[in-house]
C-alpha cells in the first residue's frame, strides 16, 4: 500500500502546478496529476469504486474535454499576465481561509456519529451495498441526476453549436487571422 504522505504530496504538487502554470495545457496536466493523487487518496480511504470513477470521469473525461476546449479555442491557450496585487489579494484570502478552518478543525472534537442513517448502521463497504442504496433509498436522487446529466448534455450542445447571425464579421476575421 502506498503511504498516505506520498499520496498527499503528489496531489498537492499537482494542484500547485495546476494553479501556477502560465500555459493552460500545463495547468490541465497538473490537474490530471492532482486528480490521480486524489484517486489514490480515495483508495486509502477504503473506496476503490470511487477511485476508479475518479480516474474514469475526471482524468479520462473532464481533463480531456478541457484539453479539447483549449485546442479548439483560438486564443484560449495563453493568459494575460495577472497583476501582482491580484495574486497577493487572492493568496491572502486563501491563507486567511486556511487558518480559520484549520483552527476550527483542530479545536473540534470529531467523535463518531451517534445517529444512524436512514438505512441503519452497517459496515458494508462493498460496491453491492452502494448499488443497493442507489436503487433503493436514494433512487429519486439517482434518477434526478440522470435528468440533470441529460439536460447538461443538451444544453452544452445547443450553447456550443449556436452560430450567431448578428456576430460582428470583423471579430471573426481577427480570430481567424
Amino acid at each position: 500500500m502506498i503511504p498516505a504522505g506520498v499520496v498527499m504530496i503528489i496531489s498537492i504538487a499537482g494542484a500547485v502546478i495546476a494553479v501556477a502554470a502560465r500555459n493552460i495545457v500545463h495547468a490541465v496536466l497538473g490537474l490530471a496529476i492532482a486528480l490521480g493523487g486524489i484517486a489514490l487518496a480515495f483508495l486509502l480511504l477504503n473506496s476503490p469504486f470511487l477511485a476508479a470513477m475518479e480516474v474514469l470521469i475526471y482524468i479520462g473525461g473532464i481533463t480531456i474535454a478541457m484539453i479539447f476546449a483549449v485546442m479548439l479555442s483560438p486564443t484560449g491557450k495563453h493568459e494575460p499576465g495577472t497583476s501582482i496585487g491580484r495574486r497577493i489579494a487572492a493568496g491572502l484570502v486563501s491563507v486567511v481561509f486556511f487558518v480559520a478552518v484549520a483552527a476550527l478543525i483542530t479545536s473540534t472534537d470529531l467523535a463518531p456519529a451517534t445517529e444512524t442513517s436512514p438505512a441503519g448502521t452497517s459496515d458494508d463497504w462493498s460496491v453491492q451495498a452502494i448499488g443497493r442504496h442507489l436503487l433503493d433509498d436514494y433512487n429519486v436522487a439517482f434518477e434526478l441526476l440522470s435528468v440533470v446529466l441529460l439536460v447538461a448534455i443538451v444544453g452544452a450542445i445547443s450553447i456550443a453549436a449556436r452560430r450567431d447571425e448578428d456576430q460582428d464579421p470583423a471579430i471573426d476575421d481577427e480570430v481567424e487571422a
Binding site: 494553479v19 487518496a41 470511487l50 470513477m53 475526471y58 473532464i62 476546449a69 484560449g76 456519529a113 448502521t121
Partner: protein, 101 residues
C-alpha cells in the same frame, strides 16, 4: 492516519483551488480551480465517511453525486468557454461584461 490529517489535506487542496479561482484570469484556469475545490470536498466527505459515519455506503453515494454534478457543470462551462472564445479576441475574464445588470 487520523481524521484531522485528512481534513487538513483536503483544506490545503481547497485553498489552492480558491487561490486559482481568485488569481487567474483565463476561464479554463478558473474551471481548474473549481474542480480542485470540488475534489477537496470529496476527500472531506470520504474522510468523515471512513472515520465517523455509521454507514460507509452513504458517503460514497454522496461523492458519486458530486462527481456526476461536477461532470455536468464542466460540460456546460466548457461549451460556454468555446462560445465566448469564438466570438471575441479578448480572453481576460474582466472584459466579459455582456451580462452586466
Amino acid at each position: 492516519m487520523t481524521l484531522e490529517i485528512w481534513l487538513i489535506f483536503a483544506l490545503v487542496l481547497f485553498c489552492i483551488g480558491l487561490y486559482g479561482v481568485l488569481a487567474r484570469r483565463n476561464l479554463i484556469a478558473i474551471l481548474i480551480g473549481i474542480e480542485l475545490m470540488l475534489n477537496a470536498v470529496n476527500i472531506n466527505v470520504l474522510a468523515f465517511n471512513h472515520y465517523v459515519a455509521p454507514d460507509p455506503a452513504i458517503g460514497q453515494i454522496i461523492v458519486l453525486f458530486v462527481i456526476g454534478l461536477a461532470a455536468a457543470e464542466a460540460a456546460i462551462v466548457l461549451s460556454i468557454v468555446l462560445t465566448v472564445y469564438r466570438q471575441r479576441t479578448a480572453i481576460d475574464v474582466e472584459d466579459l461584461t455582456e451580462l452586466r445588470g
